[in-house]
């Protein structure tokens, strides 16, 4: 008897599972507007707060209930999913090249960068240092990274937006102080060869540094640095280098999808909402640098003065930067040779 029952239970389970899987592809939502925001890895906490605000406001103003779903992952792989057919209404990725790759696939219209204010940048960020309590290795600026015995943690630039920005920050630091390309390469090579673990994405590197206590300095997003330090209960502290790179995570509406789903107006409203003072305050609260001057000024105490250089100091276009530094066999790959590492 018991045996028959359990066979029956298993059968019911399998049928139910099959129905559930199939229905996900078929069932339409009942009149409620839904938007999917495909975002990069470290922005979970930010979007959770922003979405709640926007959902309230949109319903108040238009009377239409709306709900926003988030998807997070490495910036590049998120772009890949959208190219491969993930129905994202908006994308908020870490790198211009990732958003533009979707444009190249014909899913976002040309000229996306000029569709929203401030080159589609509701906020910017930068790369800063996180060090152990009391900064035992005395790491104050970029040139300290090559000091004897300093080991650096940053994710792999080939797979991570954080990694790419860290790499560009190092390179740009050298160029902006007048170094030649050869000197910049030598410096970056020295630092990268001191990276004991190349994590695939930003959060992995954070865990390596904060929880496994490997490395002396962690190069990470400014907002991630605050989160990391807050959760360490005083074991870690932030160090601002004198200069760093101006990281620009663009936002974009995915034209082909919103046209097909009829969600263009809502998606536009969602993106424009990011520029309101209300949203800008939330952005500042999460330690992203708001692009609204007034809000930035009000939160000046959250963002220490730091000289930020644009990626334009490194290359004329993102395509060129990608090709020169991160493509297969390009500068980053050339740092690793069989000889160079096996020492």
């Amino acid at each position: 008897m018991l045996r028959k029952l359990s066979v029956l239970a298993v059968a019911i389970y399998i049928v139910a599972a099959a129905v559930w899987v199939l229905s996900a592809g078929v069932v339409r939502d009942g009149g409620k507007l839904e938007l999917l925001n495909v975002a990069c890895d470290p922005t979970r906490e930010l979007w959770r707060d922003i979405n709640a605000l926007f959902e309230n406001r949109f319903q108040r103003e238009t009377g239409i209930p709306i709900s926003i779903t988030q998807s997070h992952g490495g910036s590049g792989s998120q772009a890949g999913s959208v190219i491969n057919g993930l129905k994202a209404d908006v994308v908020t990725l870490a790198l211009w090249t990732d958003t533009d790759a979707i444009r190249k696939a014909g899913i976002i219209d040309a000229g996306w960068e000029d569709r929203f204010p401030n080159r589609s940048l509701p906020f910017t960020s930068t790369i800063v240092f996180v060090v152990r309590k009391g900064n035992p290795k005395q790491i104050k600026d970029w040139n300290d990274l090559t000091n004897n015995g300093v080991s650096v943690i940053t994710p792999n630039p080939k797979t991570s937006g954080n990694g790419k920005w860290s790499f560009l920050a190092m390179w740009g630091y050298q160029i902006s102080r007048g170094a030649t390309d050869a000197e910049a390469l030598q410096y970056v090579t020295q630092v990268i060869r001191r990276v004991p673990i190349l994590d695939a994405a930003a959060r992995g590197a954070t865990m390596t540094f904060a929880h496994k206590k490997i490395g002396d300095v962690h190069l990470t997003w400014e907002n991630e640095a605050y989160l990391e330090v807050k959760e360490s209960n005083g074991d870690l502290e932030i160090v601002y280098p004198r200069t760093s790179v101006l990281a620009e995570p663009h936002v974009a509406v995915v034209d082909r999808i919103v046209r097909k789903r009829g969600t263009k107006a809502a998606a536009d409203a969602y993106m424009n909402f990011l520029y309101t003072e209300e949203a800008q305050e939330v952005i500042a609260h999460h330690y992203y640098r708001p692009t609204n001057e007034a809000v930035l000024k009000r939160n000046a105490n959250r963002f220490p003065k730091i000289e930020l250089f644009s990626v334009k100091t490194i290359g004329t276009s993102w395509d060129e930067i990608q090709k020169r530094f991160f493509a297969e066999g390009a500068i980053f790959d050339s740092i690793y040779t069989a000889k160079g590492v096996a020492k």
Binding site: G74, G76, S77, A79, G80, I83, A101, N156, K158, T159, V195, P196, I197, L198, D199, A200, G204, M207, H211, K212, K213, I214, F326, A327, E328, D333, Y336, T337, A338, V341, A342
Partner: protein, 274 residues
């Protein structure tokens, strides 16, 4: 009366049709899609992608680590299967259930847990690292997690065969004057060799494709601790799908050859059955 209708169970044609259909949907179509994608490249391009010094270093690491892990799993698996079948002890059921845990646990979790255990300040690492055993972020670490993910295979393939095997056969051998080694060599081994090889093959194949756990315990440094699947993922991040598929196809072809070779070995070890 035709031949097929004389089979004990009806539905041969339906069964075969279903098998082929199922296999196509689950295995062949995705496989063909991968090969098709790789065919975007010319032969020269394909070779330039799959045969770089860095890729070769990654293949070497992937295959050696998988091989070592599979061998370890054979030894551990045989001991565990033997204990579970031949001895009675308290909590045997629980131990038996525990064997399957590596199948159910997300491998990324295993990688993370192993890494934090063996790291310098970890539970185990604080004792082992001073002794010179570095389990996290080394090749040893990669082998450790591969042993974990492949562990159930040998146990589960050997166990049922052992259960079928009568301890009386061994007693008979002993009565007939065989010493312990002879009994093992001539009576136990021939029966256990085929399932052990199957388990070995499964564990080995599983290890070659393993990604989730390895990236968390490996330092992923090119030429040093970068496994082949990481190369595929880093190509995907560049949206270089053809190149990613090329490496995948190469890896697959190589694994397939190895599996075929092991399969022959298995046939050979089974030769007494026919």
């Amino acid at each position: 009366m035709s031949r097929t209708s004389r089979r004990v169970l009806p539905g041969f044609r339906l069964g075969l049709g279903y098998t082929l259909f199922y296999l196509s949907i689950i295995v062949l179509v995705p496989l063909a899609a991968g090969i098709f994608k790789a065919a975007d490249l010319t032969l020269g391009e394909f070779w330039a992608v799959v045969w770089t010094p860095r890729a070769i270093a990654a293949y070497k690491l992937t295959f050696t680590a998988s091989l070592v892990a599979a061998v370890i799993n054979v030894v551990l698996g045989l001991i565990v299967a033997w204990s579970l079948v031949r001895y009675e002890f308290y909590g045997k059921r629980i131990v038996d259930a525990l064997v399957d845990v590596p199948f159910a646990l997300p491998t990324a979790v295993a990688g993370l847990v192993y890494a934090s255990l063996y790291v310098k300040d970890g539970w185990l690492g604080q004792f082992l690292v001073p002794l010179g055993f570095e389990g996290a972020y080394t090749r040893t670490g990669i082998i450790l997690v591969l042993v974990f993910t492949g562990f159930p295979f040998v146990v589960r393939t050997v166990q049922p065969v052992l259960e079928e095997m009568d301890a009386e056969t061994e007693e008979a051998a002993a009565v007939l004057g065989a010493n312990r080694w002879q009994t093992f060599r001539r009576v136990i081994m021939p029966t256990l060799l085929p399932p052990t090889l199957t388990g070995f093959t499964l564990a080995f194949a599983r290890a070659i494709g393993e990604y989730g756990s390895v990236i968390f315990i490996s330092s992923n440094i090119p030429f040093q601790s970068e496994i082949a699947p990481v190369l595929i993922v880093s190509r995907l991040e560049e949206f270089a799908y053809g190149e990613a598929a090329a490496i995948a196809v190469f890896l697959l072809a190589f694994s397939f050859l190895l599996l075929v070779a092991i399969n022959f070995l298995e046939r050979w070890s089974n030769r007494h059955d026919e």
